[in-house]
Symmetry: D2
């Protein structure tokens, strides 16, 4: 098994997809062990560390990468299987942030009202119990919630020579902030540039649907990813696969367009996999599909369209990359 | 136990919330047995029955009601507990409809493209197996999906002397089309007029998230509802409660506003129930909340914000109406 | 000439389109002299008269009417020509209003931020000089702007047995809040119910594009309208005509849908008037059309699509109703 | 007078803002004579030249530049005064384009309907008569419209190390597609990178409001721009100034957010220029402001907020750069 470990220095951290050289080259079939910093670069460590004070725009939401995948060319699909995502510290953090979040005016939903107060919430992370603990700031109220680690940000270099801030989700992936992106899931990303140049970051110990206040239970992560390349097969928008579901994503504004993109991709993908015509697939997805909300706070909003594989007769997708990567991941885990 | 049965004649069917006299008066505490027609008025019974031919605008989405609840006044809250929702026939139906649905131009998202083909899909309903069977129109593909009955439409007469088509969801309820509205759930609706004047319709054997093609697995239903009145307690937008969750709804366009309304109501409601301040409640909902999509096809879109009661310490809500109505429903069911 | 005068009492004022009996019956060809109250019902008369204190929901935006037009039936078009719109008082008023306006959170664009301050601005109206005077509240700054009277609200009873608050614009007209609706303009409204049941209100001495703070320079008006009926010709969305332009309106959310509706109607209407195919008309409107913003603050937003008649070869529209009504109006004015 | 001429070769053409080295360095005070290609790179020259055939994504909407302005640093403002914009050929062209435009499904407003037909319209351009001639494709209908040359695209390198396709408008400028950007206007752009790196392209002989079909009357242009730098003064979103108006732009989705950004900037800018408090400025803009629509078809939509300088007492803005550049332009023109 080809295992590569990478822990970025401060200088290695990237704040865009595209526009940067690779930090490392890896071959398809590699198992990659990564450290990812939290979205604040690890600088918010207590209630007094207001992000607007300790962080400097645009140095937010650092990602680890980009990685050059040997042989990847435009028109291929990169398959990233998340073998494990584990909190790297025993604490995590969430905050409000001025003019950011779904229930406040923002730089684009521009309002004359003053911003909400900037507040920091620290969470205890218990990886044994698999919980995080919420503690109110203005009362004694406290409650445990399940640990459910995920990555908010994963993507490749965009098409058309673009470089995009890591806080933006779009067709290249990026800051989709969907809780569906957890261990056990394979993400498929269309390759736009030679080497694909993928990066990963923005670990969340858990996240509500839509990330309504703008941030999740943010944490540095130790993450293991198994990498494969599907040659000559394109992917228009990021797709996800777990053992029992196929998922399409869409990122846009307004939110109904994110919904439309994701559902449209799931319908046309389902039609292609089964031979159903598009209206028959539209009907099937209409009755059998789910629509997990990703984020309703970032520069584009993200929706996921999700369908049980069973409803499609469990078709082969992406040359069975998920099954192969899952086996590789299991082998890796059993070897530790 | 005060049990009232009502089966509407064709003349009894209502196509608006508001603007109509009550079909019956009932007392709080009543268990109401209802028949509801499907959204096509039962006129689409086979592949040749195109809705644009057999249905006449605005006679779509008929509801059963309105019912006058004795003693209900503006400022009160009506509690409707769905004891059971059972398909009244062994078939159900779904269709595309010209210029309706999320993946087509509509009368408001106006496009110059011709409409999608109008197609009817018939479903077999097996109440013993608890399944519905999808059958493709243009191939042999067929698959069973779980029966999960719900009502797309429930509401009261609107405020401000308005009357609204039953296809519109808004603060008075209406065509919210959320799969969360199934048996075992209590719906809370703010009373706007004397008697509340509630109606129920649009049964679905099941529905995907967002009702993307514009219709669900549409069916006539035999439905039992237990009714209570919470005096002097207002409700700004429809709320739902099941044994383990509190839910707020929002209906608006664009979809992010439906999300905002529902999350804002859940945040402020959670704060009121727990004594948390609003930002502490915002944080808690941000990490613990779900956001089930209702519809992304109706004249307003609907989102639901959902939180486990456990995260709030299982507070008492609406004077424990849900527990009481649930017990009344159980008594009713055991008496049949 | 058949001239009818109507000055409503407080009890006559209407707050909905639909759901009310007519205040008077008039014959096509009538010249109607009306008094309309301002959107606050005349109750905001100084800086201390905060609308949230002196006005009571839903008694906002009163309209004068509805008027029953003899012979009007569903499928006809009502033509209302605004002969004159003149301020009835020497003052006018504008305000912010909590959770209303484009640069603040609202009940649907729900935010946790507190509302903006509620402030009243009084305007001097000089009908001789044709000016209004803006006076800042927190400094000596003052400036004159041209008087440009218009009606924010005009409409008929909606289709489908609906009744809608007068603050809502939609296919029946209503609170479109477009400065294009000034004297010299004919408005075409599709008739939905017997008698059409039209009402008029919400006079503005002038209004910026979009009514960004939520209110214009609000004033009671003395208004003269010449009324005609175009039998057997439908109108899907309100249209306007002045001597040199045709205009279509659209009211919806998000704002691009209001734009789409209005442009779509102008394209298909232009095609019908000229015999151009739809894509040729699309191209012509794309290069020659204007898009005056109506409102970006009401429950639906309103856009206008506007094209010089000259670009279409000055086709006859609505059986030349505008020319006839304009002549009738001129006759009326010269007779005073 | 320092006059620099630049005519790009095919290799010089740029398809992004950011991510490219400068084609030339110029000093503040320079008058720059430019040739800009049309949005199709000059490859659509007749009805058979369908853009989807003769153009290759992402090589659309080429711009001339970027130009490095000596001394420009982040935090400064670049002032570009358009001295003249003249069609470089006696023809221009417009087209529909699959899945692009306001009245069709697009890649983000994803629909299952097939795309509209792709059609090319050729325009005769008469620079003497100052007209363009529309000719229908499917009939003899033809009409002249005024020549009103403008640039759809002008911008600088974006902040945060981003590179953006030239078809996207955002805070850095880009493809705003507003007819307000004509000769006689000064554009102010906040500088994000050393040298500012501005580019210009996408000439239109004229454009309707919103560019509803997705393209204007597209033409190569000979354009003269006078350049200045305002040191130490930032500009959050592109602003425009002509002799009588101040304008702010906003580019976002949905369209109401473009409106909000532009109006918010005009309100806060007006307050800063006059000493009015924000609510007083909000009121003044609400009654005196215009809102010309830019585009409702690009990846972000663009709105302009526009106010007569007279309503603000004709304040000095940007150290009177507009007056100075206007004088420099006049000097240049009189010297030819």
């Amino acid at each position: 098994m080809n295992v590569v470990s990478f822990r970025p220095t401060a200088e290695d951290l990237a704040y865009t997809f595209g526009g940067r050289p690779a930090v490392a080259r890896i071959a398809p079939g590699t198992v990659l062990e990564l450290f990812t910093e939290d979205c604040f670069g690890g600088r918010v460590r207590g209630p007094e560390d207001l992000p607007s004070k300790v962080c400097e725009f645009p140095f937010l939401n650092p990602v680890t990468g980009p990685f050059h995948v040997e042989g990847a060319e435009p028109g291929d699909t990169l398959a990233l299987h998340f073998v494990s995502i584990e909190p790297a510290r025993d604490w995590a953090v969430s905050t409000t942030f001025p003019h950011f979040g779904a229930l406040t005016g923002t730089h684009t939903t521009a309002m004359l009202q003053p911003p909400l107060d900037e507040v920091v919430w620290m969470y205890d992370v218990d990886v044994e119990k698999r919980t995080v603990r919420y503690q109110a700031r203005n009362s004694d109220f406290s409650v445990e919630m399940p640990l459910d680690p995920m990555h908010g940000t994963v993507g490749v270099a965009p098409a058309a020579s673009e470089a995009r801030m890591t806080i933006t989700p779009d067709a290249h992936g990026g800051n989709m902030d969907t809780p569906e992106l957890r261990a056990g899931v394979t993400v498929y990303l269309g390759v736009n540039v030679e080497g694909a140049l993928f990066s990963i970051g923005d670990g969340h110990c858990r996240q509500g649907h839509g990330e309504v206040c703008g941030t999740a239970v943010e944490a540095a992560m130790n993450t293991v990813v198994a990498v494969e390349l599907v040659k000559g097969v394109g992917t228009p928008w990021p797709r996800l696969e777990d053992d029992d579901h196929l998922m399409s994503t869409g990122s846009a504004r307004p939110l109904e367009d994110a919904y439309r993109i994701s559902q449209h991709d799931l319908v046309t993908w389902s039609a292609a996999l089964t031979g159903l015509d598009e209206l028959d697939a539209y009907q099937l997805v209409s009755q059998g599909g789910e629509a997990p909300v990703g984020n309703v706070c970032d520069t584009n909003y993200t929706m996921v369209a999700k369908l049980p594989k069973a409803y499609l007769g469990r078709p082969e997708v992406y040359e069975s990359a998920h099954a192969r990567l899952r086996a590789l991941g299991a082998e890796y885990l059993s070897s530790r």
